[in-house]
Assembly symmetry: C4
Homo-oligomer: 276 residues x 4
């Protein structure tokens, strides 16, 4: 889908998941600190729902790539040439993410699936995305090639982080790192769309201008900085929210205790007068 929408759609998808992760992981971290076991059950249900939604979106992605008007409609080889290999490659990427979603669900649903497998398959899905992209962008104009290859930094960085998480599970630093790279991927897809297919009909970018390549490289760093800021903001908001919730609960508990102690006091008075 070599147009603006074809980049905005996966970008939005990655952005939404990234934003959700930037809320989910701090939440889990703060609850784990307080060792509230009662929430583990709710948390697992949350993970299963998230994995199901990710699987669903991936399947929608596959169907979209196959059945858009100019898609391959599941035809792979026709009259001595391959049909719409680009769409097939995108379908393959989505397929791996769907498998990753299914394995995530299974890890939480079935107890005999070993922990860490979900992270391994997610790492493989990310690696696979990068692998296909790497061969995807050969033989293109310099700027196009460069702007896509920058994406590989985010993708392979994420795959590496996920592979480490197989061994170091539930490490908040690694989780925030992964979240920031996912957000970067999301915003960068939008950026690619804006650069290669200007949606508002602006002038096209000169594909061979070295200054453009230098700006795009720097712009990638800014995107990452923005991603880090989003993660930091989410983390702070979750912390403030949890602190407020706790304070209110404490106040209510104190209120109830006060009511109770008043009651006890009156009772004691009454029984005291009775005894008199």
């Amino acid at each position: 889908m070599a147009n603006f929408k074809g980049h905005a759609l996966p970008g939005s998808f990655f952005l939404i998941v990234g934003l959700w992760w930037s809320v989910k992981h701090p939440l889990k971290y703060f609850y784990q600190k307080e060792k509230s076991n009662q929430l583990t059950h709710h948390y697992q249900r949350l993970e299963i729902i998230e994995a199901a939604i990710r699987t669903l979106f991936s399947v929608i992605g596959i169907l979209a790539e196959q059945f858009v008007p100019d898609g391959p409609h599941l035809h792979l080889y026709h009259e001595d040439h391959w049909v719409k290999l680009m769409n097939w490659q995108h379908s393959t990427m989505y397929l791996f993410f769907a498998v990753s979603g299914i394995v995530d669900m299974l890890t939480y649903l079935i107890t005999h699936v070993p922990l860490g497998l979900d992270r391994l398959v997610m790492a493989l899905a990310a690696f696979n995305e990068g692998f296909l992209f790497y061969y995807h962008v050969h033989n293109r104009p310099p700027l196009d090639q460069h702007i896509h290859s920058l994406l590989l930094c985010a993708v392979f960085g994420g795959a590496l982080g996920l592979a480490v998480e197989v061994v170091l599970r539930d490490n908040i630093v690694l989780e925030l790192f992964r979240t920031s790279l996912l957000l970067l991927q999301g915003t960068w897809f939008w950026q690619i769309g804006f650069v290669l297919f200007p949606p508002f009909g602006g002038p096209e970018w000169d594909q061979n201008n070295h200054d453009n390549i230098m700006f795009v490289t720097m712009c990638f760093c800014w995107h990452y900085l923005a991603a880090l800021c989003i993660v930091a903001a989410s983390y702070s908001l979750v912390y403030c929210f949890l602190t407020q919730v706790k304070r209110r609960e404490d106040r209510e508990v104190i209120g109830i205790q006060k009511l109770r102690s008043d009651h006890t006091y009156r009772k004691a008075l009454l029984s005291g007068s009775d005894e008199e």
Copy 2:
């Protein structure tokens, strides 16, 4: 052995070992969970037999490479030129796998061989295979070079996983990862055979067509997905099999206990009537 058989044979070998591993590792994992120490002895014998078979196959591979009609017959240098270097390189690959098999046997047979050495030597054998392949495929047509270099992903990935296993031994996730890469290698060897030497006399693939290269890249991902599915299926089958075996054993135990308790009951009745 630049023909279909020359790729199908190692492919089958890797496939068989991969399938066996996809059964062995889940079995070990479930038994370890139940901490049944009595099975450790049987398991070690199994490992020794596997290593012996692997060594045997590697030796057969060396002999085949050397003594096929157009092989070098152990001649290395003859009349100012090297004799059949391809066959010699394949022999070298098999030699490392043979050494790895021997070290595996020794690790289980002799107690003073440090654990982890078997994984290190296996990682070296895999690295060696990739290393030779890397220099093997220079100066070939693009498709031939690409389809072989994809193999390197599986080989070096496996070597890396094995190197991590030196430190993190008996980690089921790493073992399943290694198994899936071995299966990938097996099926990919077959794929190479089908692409480069069509066995059923179909038309040859255009070696310089970029679309062919793109399809082959994507096809590699599908092969890996298939390998992951095989591993998942094996894992589930082993689990179901073990659960059923356990249930039957439990039933038998209950049956025996019932028989015994009936017997005791009757005895109690009899002795009761005696006492009367």
Copy 3:
């Protein structure tokens, strides 16, 4: 800032931080060994001050890059071309170091920021510097390109070390390694200045002479050796200083105890005479 000062300034900055670290880390290490908890508070204040200074310097760097006479003055795009992208890229590098400084401060000031995040962001700042440099030096004469790319060894090596520190925090060997690489970066910036922009008006270096490139490579090794020597010297000096301080304290303690015991002795004598 493609002149001598433009390389001497960041070089001096890195050198100063490196020298400070070569004192700070041994100090922390020796205090941790003695488990003197009372110093933890002072140490944290020190870390916060250091991070604040680092942030300040980075902000000064950004302002300098933007508002030097031939700087971009915050203009990015003007009349169909990018304005002073070099300065913008340097600003971006400083920006990441400023963010790293802020995260360092937050980690020590706010208890709910997870440990390790400071190291991750510092690793990202280093990686970002290397990343921008990598694309920075394309299309330059061989010696210029080579002398800058050597810098990447120090930068990426430092980023890798910092990434390992996320998991292995407070490992003195990793900290000294990072310190030595920072010193190397500092001295190498000076070296680049001397080679590319001879400050004393000497003859220019031949950019295409292979011997020059070979010498520069070797010179880089010497710089690292010098950096290792500086770290070793600092480490020894800190050790000697702490040993002397301890000895003096011990002597004073002994002195006080002696005074006290003298006093007690006299008192005892007096009270003895009283009793008499």
Copy 4:
């Protein structure tokens, strides 16, 4: 020193150290297993002597490179060109190994030097060797370049293994791995000498023949196999030797006990007769 001796000398040096390590590490491993603390002192002295010898050899290497008849005699720059940069680069390599030797000595002599620093500096020395070699072999004929670049596998592999040892100290598998790579380096230096400077006046190798390059690649694998065999043989010999020593000691202990018990018996008899 671009001649046969110039490759045979460092090769012999690496071989000797490798052979010594292949004895030292198994010895340490078996003694650690028996937890004989009394030997720790002897072992530390051994390490210090080894490090001293390594330092000495490195210094001799530096002096040889500088003061051979066609050496630079400590002149670096003379009449607008660099003097004998090859020799200077080799001196630099030796210098790092000398520093590594000194740090090894210090680690065992002075208690406040942190453990792991010796491995880090040794890893840096190995990395430095590879780093200089990498830029060393540019602009040479293909075979020359290839045969030297194969060396880099052994050098960087060793540096990586040593870097892991910083964290995982005293891991026998890593130590044997490092030993095998050192032996490989030793034998490969000899091989380079034989290929590039045939000592017995044979015909020169065709530098551009692809078959030669393929053979050399395979030959490198054989060298590594030989190195693995040497390590395995050393390990077994050390084990057999220690077992025999132990058996003899046990026999002597039994003999002494027998003598003693005989003596006691006779004494008992005598005292018995006395008592009679």
